[in-house]
Symmetry: C2
Subunit: 340 residues, 2 copies
DNA sequence: TTCAGGACTTGACACGTTTTAATTCGGCAG
DNA sequence: CTGCCGAATTAAAACGTGTCAAGTCCTGAA
């Protein structure tokens, strides 16, 4: 019984054991951890040695309970199966990991009910802030968090409240870019394949497409709406178009475009000679596509990094922080699928 | 000052306010939350009403501090850019969300240093368990967590300790499947493109490939090692092979295979007529590949779900739980890239 | 020698919940 | 009427850290 196992269970060492081992008071250990500048160099060295020797790990629950704020943030995305969101998550995770924050990952899977459940869980976890891609424009489910003083940054969605941060990419402009380009290649009968118009991205890209037609004063747009934005759904959308082929197809998403491309090629339709095809997102996996896919590129990874930095700034310096609505401009990437 | 704003800041209601509002003691409210069966029906109803009316949200930090265990688990993957891991993460997240657990997402980015940093962070966060794809076979970095009583399930990696759970897919068998199939198509001079052999998956698939050659009593295997498992690296690997083309290429990864395919086609090498090509993982995004890609399919999403369930079982019933090493068998998916 | 003042350090309480032992209460047998 | 039991509830003591007012020690000037 002479072992230094003073910890409660499993040899967990607390701040008290460290203090005893270093011959100082618990308060000093806490100071070493949180405001190292207030403690004398020699004492700090002794405490740090004790921490290392005992393998002390700070109890985050206690810390966050007492301090009223922890070092975790929530990240809620629409769909973990979509490379757009995983790239974005990668950016967020990279920044948070560097800064010592933990990221709680949630997927709403585009379900409002699941979004609400996850937000409640994030509130329970006492997250310091959240990055959210909201499911819909509907009721402000973030209110629950805001009341509790949790900062929020809207991801790929314009701010819904006057003073709130948001990071987005200009989807109207993206739709405009894509369709202008299709018109430039000579296409006139254009089809737009997208998910439900309740998804803001789909609606905005559609609006941009219409603007491009209007500006050009020529061309028509057909709209095929599919329930999901997956390759399979794209394939099914293409089947609908086979009866009367358009000159070009603009997909709200590269995944959809991959499905469309596959269906067209299977039916012997030549791309781009007979039908031009352009997608959206410029995901990496179209690298070895049958016909290299033109697309509208979004700075996805950077989007994640920047929104993470914005959130941390807001959390760590609430007063000096000015809310920002950052909007990136997308970029046209022309490949073979639109270059006859 | 007559408002019921007894909460500390931002109107955060605590268990005490709820108790006062319902005319019971804080202990009873806690019982309603944690062991509802111990409290009389009428009282429970009154408390639940108060919770709803006040918008009470349990403080997870306090709960986890006092109870000694929270409702979060950690998930550490090797590479968030790889669909294999994001599919897996999706499975984990789905299960955990259903069961009311929070998932802390970490990526080690195949860096031992970052793995260690993240594990320390998970320890601080008092996670109840972790799902880990370890970076290497090296020093047991999980010890830090095990000491603190954190359960661990090894993901896509055999258990390193006698009594530990693990969920894997038989990579030796996968390599065997792939190369046997290539031999069946008549290939003899086969190239294996993979990441560093320190990655277990790469090594095991290589071992399986060798076994297949041995069993067949014919054929040779060249080995091209690239630093990363990305399409770009695959492209560069293919350039190395252009001098003396093999009959077939087996890639440790579909991403590599996509890069190889792209490079071969660009150089006018016909696939599969001149070179057969097979990948690994059967990711969704090869759907619209120039030449539909043969691959070795792993039940990735199920892998995630099952390992999550295993971890929860271990956490919630530590005594009744028997450690399991589950190994799935991969499945050969033959498409055009190996079917001349 | 004394004292002011600064640089560190300490001690004790508070955070919101869970948990244990103690209390109340009605009913029922002796 | 008393004593005792079980069910339901309560009061109070933790959990491990952060914070801040109150100390201690040291240096240098009067």
């Amino acid at each position: 019984m002479s072992t230094p196992q003073t910890g409660s269970r499993g040899g967990a060492v607390g701040i008290k054991e460290v203090a005893a081992h270093a011959g100082v008071s618990p308060g000093t250990v806490s100071n070493v951890l949180n405001r190292p500048e207030r403690v004398a160099d020699t004492t700090r060295a002794r405490v740090e040695a004790a921490i290392r020797e005992l393998g002390f790990v700070r109890n985050g629950s206690a810390s966050s309970l007492r301090a009223g704020q922890g070092r975790t943030v929530g990240l809620m995305v629409l769909d973990l199966g979509n490379p757009f969101f995983t790239d974005l998550a990668r950016g967020v995770e990279d920044v948070m990991s560097e800064r010592g924050y933990a990221v709680i990952l949630c997927s709403s899977a585009t379900s409002a009910e699941r979004e609400e459940r996850n937000l409640r869980m994030l509130a329970e976890q006492q997250v310091r802030g959240v990055l959210v891609t909201p499911v819909d424009q509907g009721p402000d489910r973030l209110a629950l968090l805001r009341e509790r003083g949790v900062n929020a940054v809207m991801l790929d969605h314009p701010a819904t409240r006057p003073h709130q941060c948001s990071v987005t990419v200009d989807d109207v402009s993206g739709g405009h870019l894509a369709v202008s380009h299709l018109l430039d290649t000579g296409a006139r009968d254009i089809a737009y394949v997208s998910g439900p118009m309740s998804i803001r991205q789909c609606a905005d890209r559609h609006a941009g497409a219409l603007k491009a037609l209007e500006a050009a004063g020529t061309g028509t747009l057909r709209h095929v709406i599919v329930p999901e934005m997956t390759p399979r759904a794209g394939q099914e959308a293409a089947w609908q178009l086979l009866g009367e082929l358009p000159d070009a197809v603009f997909c709200a998403n590269d995944l959809l475009a991959m499905g469309v491309l596959r269906a067209l090629l299977q039916q012997g339709v030549r791309v781009p000679e007979r039908v031009r095809l352009i997608g959206y997102d410029d995901i990496e996996y179209t690298t070895a596509s049958a016909v290299p896919l033109s697309s509208v590129r979004q700075p996805t990874y950077r989007l994640g990094r920047i929104s993470a930095e914005l959130l941390l700034e807001e959390c760590e310096d609430p007063d000096g922080h000015a809310h920002q609505q950052i909007m990136f401009q997308p970029e046209l990437v022309i490949r073979e699928s639109t270059a006859p």
